[in-house]
C-alpha cells in the first residue's frame, strides 16, 4: 500500500492504490484517476446485472464473515414493494483492524462509488454509512467527499447519509447497527427475520462492509474475470484484501494482498519480521475474535477464507495481531476478554455474565491466585458461551480463550503453580 510506506512489490494495490495521495480525496481528483467510471457503467446496467457481475467476481464480505456479496444482494426482494435500504458498516472496532479507516481517509470516493453501485443493485434509494464514533478524521473526510459528490450531483436521486456511532463495538454487528441507526440502543436483534426481509426501519436492508463496497468499482471497470483471477490458492477466495498488521513486527501497517498469500511472507518479508533477537510466538490473523495461531500454524497459514479455516481459525476482518516471544499470552488473552466484557450489550445471559466472569478468572490467574481447576472452568464456561447467544460477541470472547489455553497451557499453569511472578492487573 502507499501509506505510510511504499507498496511492497508483493502487494497488489487495488484498494490502496491511492493511499497517501491527498488529491485522490477530492471529487475532481478522484474523477481524474478514473473514479466514478464504474458508477456510470452501473447506470447502464439493470440492478440484477450488477448483482450478477459481483456474484461472478467471487467477492466475499470483508467485514469478517466472508459471505458472498452478490448472493447477499440477491436476497433483497426482486419486486420492490417497500423502500429498500443499504447500510454501510464503517463501525470498524474489531481490535487489531484498521483497514476501513484508511479507505475512508484516503479514498472516500471509492466507498461512495461502491455504495452508490450497491444501492442501484439492491434498488435502495437511501443509504446510511455508519461510521464509528471515534473516527473523527475519517468522518470529516467522508463528509467533505459526500458534499463534493452531492454538489456534482454524482448520485442522481440516491440519498447517502453519514451516521456517526457513539463508540460501541457491538454497533458493528449488523442488526445492532440497524437499531442504532433507528435511534435505539445498539442491541443485536434475534434472527430471523433477516435484514433482507426486515432490516432498518423494518424495511428490506442490505449491510456491507466498507472494504467490500470499495472493491465493487474496480470489479465493474476491470470485469469480474479479472477479479476472479486474483487468487493465489483457493478459487473460492478471490480479489485482494487489506490486512492490518499490528504488534511485534518491524513494519506494522496495512498491506493489500491477493487472496491466498502466505501469512509467513506477510510477516517476515513485507512487515520486516520480528524485532531483533525475537522470534514469533503467536498470531491472531483475523481480528481479536478469531482463534489464536501458534508459530507453526502461523507459518503454514495461507491468507484466504479457506486457508484460515484449515488452520483452525478464521480470516475475519484481516486484523493480524502478532506476538513475539516476549508476549505474556495470559495477559494478552485477559486484555481481550476484558474488552469483550466491557462491550457486551448485556442482552444474553451467557455473554453478559460470562465475559465478565472469564475476565475475573484470568485476572485471578495473573495475580497468582489461580486454582488448578480454573483452566477447565474457563473451557467449560467458554463452551457455554459459544453458539448459544443472539450474536457472536460471546463466541468471540471464547475463541481466544479456548485456543489460548489449548496452545499456551504451560503459561497459564506457570501462573497457577506459582512458577511465574504474579502480574498486578489494574
Amino acid at each position: 500500500m502507499g501509506y505510510p510506506h511504499k507498496a511492497h512489490r508483493k502487494e497488489t494495490t487495488v484498494l490502496s492504490k491511492y493511499f497517501g495521495d491527498p488529491e485522490a480525496r477530492s471529487y475532481k481528483g478522484w474523477v481524474k484517476r478514473g473514479g466514478y467510471e464504474a458508477w456510470r457503467q452501473a447506470l447502464t446496467l439493470a440492478p440484477a446485472a450488477i448483482t450478477d457481475l459481483v456474484k461472478e467476481s467471487g467477492l466475499r464480505g470483508r467485514g469478517g464473515a466472508g459471505f458472498p456479496t452478490g448472493l447477499k444482494w440477491s436476497f433483497m426482494p426482486k419486486e420492490k414493494k417497500k423502500p429498500h435500504y443499504l447500510c454501510v458498516n464503517a463501525d470498524e472496532s474489531e481490535p487489531g483492524t484498521f483497514k476501513d479507516r484508511e479507505i475512508m481517509r484516503w479514498t472516500p470516493h471509492a466507498l461512495l462509488e461502491g455504495t452508490a453501485i450497491a444501492m442501484r443493485a439492491i434498488q435502495a434509494e437511501v443509504g446510511y454509512i455508519y461510521i464509528r464514533g471515534e473516527f473523527t478524521e475519517p468522518y470529516a473526510i467522508m463528509g467533505q467527499a459526500l458534499a463534493e459528490a452531492n454538489a456534482a450531483r454524482a448520485f442522481g436521486d440516491l440519498k447517502i447519509h453519514l451516521h456517526r456511532g457513539a463508540g460501541a463495538y457491538i454497533c458493528g454487528e449488523e442488526t445492532a447497527l440497524m437499531n442504532s441507526i433507528e435511534g435505539k440502543r445498539g442491541n443485536p436483534r434475534i434472527k430471523p427475520p433477516f435484514p433482507a426481509a426486515f432490516g432498518v426501519f423494518g424495511m428490506p436492508t442490505t449491510i456491507n462492509n466498507v472494504e467490500t463496497l470499495a472493491a465493487v468499482p474496480p470489479i465493474l471497470t476491470n470485469g469480474p474475470a479479472w477479479y476472479k483471477k486474483l487468487s493465489l490458492s483457493n478459487p473460492k477466495s478471490t480479489g485482494t484484501k487489506l490486512f492490518s498488521v499490528c504488534g511485534h513486527v518491524q513494519k506494522p501497517g496495512n498491506y493489500e494482498l491477493t487472496m491466498g498469500f502466505p501469512l509467513k511472507d506477510l510477516l517476515y518479508e513485507l512487515c520486516g519480521g520480528m524485532r531483533p533477537g525475537r522470534t514469533l510466538k503467536a498470531c491472531i490473523p483475523g481480528g481479536s475474535s478469531v482463534p489464536i495461531l501458534d508459530r507453526a500454524e502461523t507459518e503454514a497459514c495461507l491468507l484466504d477464507y479457506e486457508g484460515a479455516v484449515e488452520r483452525g481459525t478464521m480470516l475475519g476482518s484481516g486484523g493480524v495481531i502478532v506476538f513475539d516471544d516476549s508476549a505474556d499470552m495470559v495477559y494478552q488473552i485477559m486484555r481481550l476478554a476484558r474488552f469483550y466484557a466491557h462491550e457486551s450489550c448485556a442482552q444474553c445471559t451467557q455473554c453478559r455474565e460470562g465475559t465478565a466472569w472469564t475476565t475475573k478468572i484470568l485476572e485471578r490467574i495473573l495475580a497468582g491466585q489461580g486454582k488448578a481447576t480454573d483452566l477447565d472452568l474457563l473451557l467449560d464456561l467458554s463452551d457455554n458461551m459459544t453458539g448459544k447467544t443472539i450474536c457472536v460477541l460471546s463466541d468471540s470472547c471464547a475463541a481466544p480463550v479456548v485456543s489460548g489455553i489449548k496452545k499456551f497451557r504451560g503459561e497459564f499453569e506457570d501462573y497457577i503453580a506459582g512458577r511465574r511472578r504474579p502480574v498486578m492487573v489494574a
Binding site: 434475534i190 466484557a341 450489550c345 448485556a346 442482552q347 453458539g387
Partner: protein
C-alpha cells in the same frame, strides 16, 4: 387435527399446532414447560435470556424455544443432555451475581429463578466466594414499585411491558455488560395506572410491590379465582389470602378480557374485603327498642312477615357489587309487588392500557352494573330514594352509604351497618365478594364466576342464601331447590332472556358471553 396444523414431535410426544406457534407454547401441549425468563406470552419476544434452549434435530445448534416457530416434521428434545447442560450453564451465570437472599425476598416460593434452579440447576456454584457480587442500591421506581437491582436477571419483561403494552417507555436497560441494570427515566416515575403489572411480570424478586412488601411468604397464601370489583371491565383476578385475610390481588390470565394484566386501581381495591366492623348476626327491631341480635330463624320469619303483609310499592336499592344471583333473587322476592329497583354507580376517570384493545380501567367503578340493568334495575337512584319514602317495603342490598326515609318497612341486607340503616326493621348480615361464590356480568356482557376466598364473619351468609330462605319462607314455588348460587343462576338463565342458553357449569373459569352479545354499555 385441524386443517393447516403443523405436526411435530416434542420429547417423543406427537404435537399438532397452528403454523406460527412458538415451540415454547407447543411444548405445553406435550406437558413440557421449557424453563424461560424473558419470554412472556403477553409481551413481544426478546429471545435474550437464552434459558429456553432446546435441541431441534437437524438444526446446527441449540434453538431458543421462545423464538422458534413450529415446522412440519420437527423433532424437538427439551431434555437432551446438550440442552440441559446449556440451560444449567445459563442458570449458573444468572446466579453468580445474584445475592441469594431468598430468606428475606418476597418472591421466594413463587420465584422462577428458584424453581428452575431447583429443577435443573447446578448443585453448587463454581464462582469464587472471593469475588464481590454486583451491588446497586434499591431504587424507588414509583408509587407501588421498588427495584432491587441485585436480584435482577435483566430479562427486560418490565422494559417491554412499559414500552410495548403501556406505550409509556419510562424503563430501559442502562449500562452494558455485567454492569447493566434497569434504569428509569430521570424525570419520570413508574406511576402509569397499569404499572403494577411489572411486579407480576418480574420472574424474580427484583420488582416488588410496596403494598405487599414483607406481608406474607408465598407458601402461606391461599389462592382463589375471582373477578375484580374495581370497574365494569371484569378483569379476572386471583385473591391471595393469608389466614383468611386478603393480602394481595393479582391478575388471572383471560385472553378475552384482561389478557395477563390488571390495573393498579383494581390491584389495590381489596382492603374493604377485610373490614373488621362487619355485621355478624341478624338484627331485628323489637317494639320501641334498639336493634337486637337474633338467630336466623327468627330474623327470616320476621322478614317474611314484613314482606307477606306488604302490599303496593316495593323499592330495592342495590349495590352494583352484588352478585347476579342476589340481584335476580331479590327481584323474584318482590314479584307481585309494584317493584322499583335501582343501583348507584360511582364514576371515575378512564385509564386505558394502550397496547391491549378493549382493556381499560372503566369510568363505571362497579363490577355488575350490566347484570343489574339486564334484570331491570334502573340507574335513577334519586328517583328510587324518593319512591322509597312512600313504599310499603324497602329492601337494601348492601349500600353502606345509604340514608333512607320511608313510611314502610326497611329491610337491610348488608355487610356493614351504616348509620342510615339503623331504622331498619330487620338487618340481615351477608357475605362480601371474597366470602361467597357468584357471577358478575362485565360491560361486554361476559358472565364470569368468582369463588369464595375466605369465610364470612360470624353468622353472615351469602345474599343468595338469605334471599332463597326468604323465598322458601314465603312459600314461593321452587324456593327449596335454590341450593346454591349455581341453582340460582340456572333459574335466572331459564327466565331472563339475555341469559338464555347459559348454565352455571358451562361458565367455567373464563366466563361466557350472554346471547345475543350486547354492546358496550358505557
Amino acid at each position: 387435527m385441524a386443517d393447516g396444523a403443523v405436526n411435530l414431535t416434542i420429547d417423543g410426544m406427537p404435537v399438532s399446532a397452528p403454523p406460527g406457534t412458538l415451540l415454547i407454547e407447543a411444548a405445553k401441549q406435550a406437558g413440557v414447560l421449557v424453563p424461560h425468563y424473558c419470554y412472556h406470552p403477553g409481551l413481544p419476544v426478546a429471545g435474550l435470556c437464552r434459558m429456553c434452549l432446546v435441541e431441534v434435530e437437524k438444526a446446527p445448534k441449540l434453538q431458543i424455544a421462545c423464538a422458534t416457530q413450529v415446522a412440519e416434521g420437527m423433532v424437538v428434545h427439551t431434555q437432551s443432555a446438550q440442552a440441559k447442560s446449556a440451560r444449567m450453564g445459563v442458570l449458573e451465570l444468572l446466579l453468580i451475581n445474584h445475592p441469594l437472599d431468598c430468606p428475606i425476598c418476597d418472591q421466594a416460593g413463587e420465584c422462577e429463578l428458584q424453581d428452575f434452579t431447583f429443577q435443573e440447576g447446578r448443585p453448587a456454584t463454581r464462582y469464587s466466594p472471593d469475588y464481590a457480587k454486583r451491588f446497586n442500591p434499591v431504587e424507588d421506581f414509583g408509587p407501588d414499585v421498588l427495584y432491587v437491582p441485585n436480584r435482577c436477571i435483566l430479562c427486560t419483561r418490565c422494559v417491554r411491558f412499559m414500552e410495548d403494552v403501556t406505550k409509556e417507555p419510562v424503563l430501559n436497560v442502562s449500562e452494558r455488560g455485567d454492569r447493566a441494570f434497569i434504569g428509569i427515566h430521570p424525570e419520570a416515575r413508574l406511576d402509569h395506572p397499569w404499572a403494577g403489572n411489572v411486579v407480576d411480570l418480574c420472574p424474580v424478586g427484583s420488582l416488588l410491590s410496596k403494598d405487599f412488601l414483607h406481608k406474607a411468604r408465598a407458601w402461606e397464601l391461599d389462592k382463589t379465582a375471582s373477578v375484580c370489583t374495581g370497574c365494569s371491565q371484569g378483569c379476572n383476578v386471583t385473591l391471595d389470602t393469608r389466614d383468611n385475610v386478603v393480602v394481595r390481588v393479582r391478575p388471572r390470565p383471560n385472553l378475552l378480557v384482561n389478557r395477563y394484566f390488571i390495573c393498579d386501581h383494581g390491584r389495590m381495591n381489596y382492603r374493604w374485603m377485610n373490614r373488621g366492623d362487619r355485621i355478624e348476626a341478624p338484627l331485628v327491631k323489637r317494639a320501641g327498642a334498639e336493634l337486637q341480635a337474633v338467630d336466623w330463624d327468627e330474623a327470616l320469619e320476621r322478614t317474611a312477615g314484613l314482606l307477606r303483609g306488604a302490599g303496593g310499592r316495593a323499592v330495592t336499592l342495590a349495590s352494583p357489587r352484588m352478585s347476579t344471583e342476589a340481584l335476580f333473587l331479590m327481584r323474584e322476592l318482590c314479584a307481585g309487588l309494584d317493584w322499583t329497583g335501582a343501583v348507584q354507580i360511582v364514576m371515575g376517570e378512564e385509564a386505558p392500557l394502550a397496547g391491549v384493545p378493549n382493556l381499560a380501567l372503566r369510568p363505571e367503578r362497579a363490577p355488575n352494573g350490566t347484570a343489574a340493568e339486564l334484570l331491570g334495575y334502573g340507574r335513577d337512584y334519586a328517583a328510587a330514594l324518593q319512591a322509597a319514602e312512600s313504599a310499603a317495603v324497602v329492601l337494601v342490598l348492601d349500600e353502606p352509604e345509604v340514608t333512607i326515609r320511608t313510611a314502610g318497612a326497611l329491610i337491610y341486607l348488608g355487610t356493614v351497618l351504616p348509620e342510615g340503616a339503623r331504622d331498619a326493621a330487620v338487618v340481615l348480615p351477608i357475605a362480601n365478594v371474597a366470602e361467597e361464590e357468584g357471577t358478575f356480568v362485565n360491560r361486554d356482557g361476559r358472565v364470569q364466576r368468582y369463588f369464595q376466598a375466605k369465610p364470612a364473619p360470624g353468622m353472615a351468609r351469602p345474599a343468595w342464601w338469605v334471599l332463597a330462605e326468604l323465598l322458601t319462607a314465603l312459600g314461593r314455588e321452587g324456593g327449596e331447590s335454590l341450593t346454591g348460587p349455581g341453582a340460582a343462576f340456572d333459574r335466572l338463565a331459564r327466565s331472563v332472556g339475555p341469559f338464555a342458553g347459559l348454565s352455571y357449569a358451562s361458565l367455567g373459569a373464563a366466563g361466557q358471553a350472554i346471547t345475543p352479545a350486547i354492546g358496550a354499555t358505557a
